[in-house]
């Protein structure tokens, strides 16, 4: 899932398939359990996995990523028991990573045109929520202070941008950021950084705005 609530960098392209996956992120080890399919099967898979790994995970602190899957009390208890038996410590669950649409995983070519996948969210991103996506991101809502959106392509906010947005994060200085009002904590396009209220040249009125790189600087101008 590209949306994580604990500040982890969620690598694009690491979407879970039909198997459990252990991933190493900045903040430690994350166990990803796929959203679909019976939980028992994954529990059994995990049990086998841990048995074959000969205490490799002993003492490891694990973040749990469940996507939209909700565990009931019994399932949770079974999982925690299995963790304990194998010396794993459950650190956090990614349950709070709220409603996320599964993005189209790869860019395609249609009639020879390069099509960039777009990730769409229909809600306001609140403080502590973060999205990272390899493609464009479209948000039907605001980006509040404390929320972050990173995209390799463009970022389009059908609302107010008051948090942090990073477009063209793989180096594309042609990427753009659009919002109905741009009043961010920080903006980044490729390797260019602008802090809110400081370096940012911005228009005064609240008309739709667009941020782009011009002469090594991010400028925000009226959209028309």
């Amino acid at each position: 899932m590209p949306l994580s609530d604990n500040g982890d960098l969620m690598q694009p392209g690491s979407l879970p398939g039909n198997n459990i996956v252990f991933k190493g992120y900045r903040s430690g080890l994350t166990l990803i359990i796929p959203e679909a399919g019976p939980f028992e099967n994954y529990l059994q898979e995990l049990r086998d996995h841990l048995k074959n790994s000969h205490n490799f995970f002993n003492g490891a602190k694990i973040n749990l990523e469940l996507g939209n899957r909700q565990l009931d009390t019994e399932e949770k208890a079974a999982l925690i028991r299995l963790f304990q038996e194998n010396g794993l410590v459950l650190r956090s669950t990614g349950e709070s990573a709220s409603p996320v649409k599964r993005p189209a995983s790869k860019s395609k070519a249609i009639h020879g045109e390069h099509v960039v996948p777009t990730f769409t969210i229909k809600k306001t991103l609140r403080s502590g929520q973060r999205i990272e996506f390899d493609g464009n991101v479209l948000i039907w809502g605001d980006i509040n202070p404390g929320a972050e959106v990173m995209a390799s392509g463009d970022i389009i906010v059908m609302g107010k941008l008051r948090g942090t947005a990073h477009a063209g994060m793989q180096g594309d200085r042609n990427a753009r950021i659009f919002a109905f009002q741009i009043n961010p904590v920080q903006l980044r396009i490729a390797d260019v950084i602008a802090r809110g209220g400081e370096k940012l040249k911005r228009t005064k009125d609240f008309r739709p705005e667009i941020a782009k790189v011009k002469d090594q600087q991010i400028i925000v101008e009226k959209f028309n």
Partner: protein
Amino acid sequence: MSGKVLVITSGKGGVGKTTTCANIGTGLAIRGKKVALIDADIGLRNLDVVMGLENRIVFDLIDVVEKNCKLRQALIKDRRFDNLYLLPAAQTKEKDAVKPEQMVELCEELKLDFDYILIDCPAGIEHGFKNAVAGADDAIIVTTPDVSAVRDADRIIGLLQTYEITDPKLVINRVRPDMVRRGDMMDVNDVNDILAITLLGVVPDDQSIIVSTNKGEPAVSEQSSRVGQAYRNIVARIEGEDVPFMSLDFDLGFFERIKRLLKK
């Protein structure tokens, strides 16, 4: 009877959760509702002090979930209102002595007997928060009009979505009209612009709160007090009444702005 469980939470500490809980609870009881207050701030209890019931505590929340006593035995009846009860937090035990499942069970049991169950949530988003929200049907978010409290409230609203609480209500506490007028404090509009949830009420900053807290008699029961009126309005709105917002000496535009926000 099937009562409603409301958790009172904020993220940031010291913004007025306990004060709000005591006043809303007392206000609902004055209107004849049967109300239970649960202090979920284990280790740092103080709802009992604010209610003036500290010296009557025999059993607490942990005794109930550990089945050392019956629920009935641990509920303390208020000094003034017969239909108001408090389930105090344990002062001495560890914070993780309660599990979310146990809170759910407790809330279900209380729902059979009470119209409203109000849970006073500890600050933070850790274990105590998870316990406090586990059994809740809805939430009241308390914030003060400052950037960091609003930021934390926003985080809490995001977290509550995973508990299927999607329409929490907002109380903005400690508003100072003089500071707002000078532009030194966020106004209601600024707060609502970010949080964008249903506004339940605005409570002025008022030193009389400290006096009523010391007396153990929440301000809501004082007819003449301005904060009391703010809490009575909040209680009426919880009960579904359409009460106009107090102007709090704001400029006239303030009134209209709130109305418009609420109609959205």
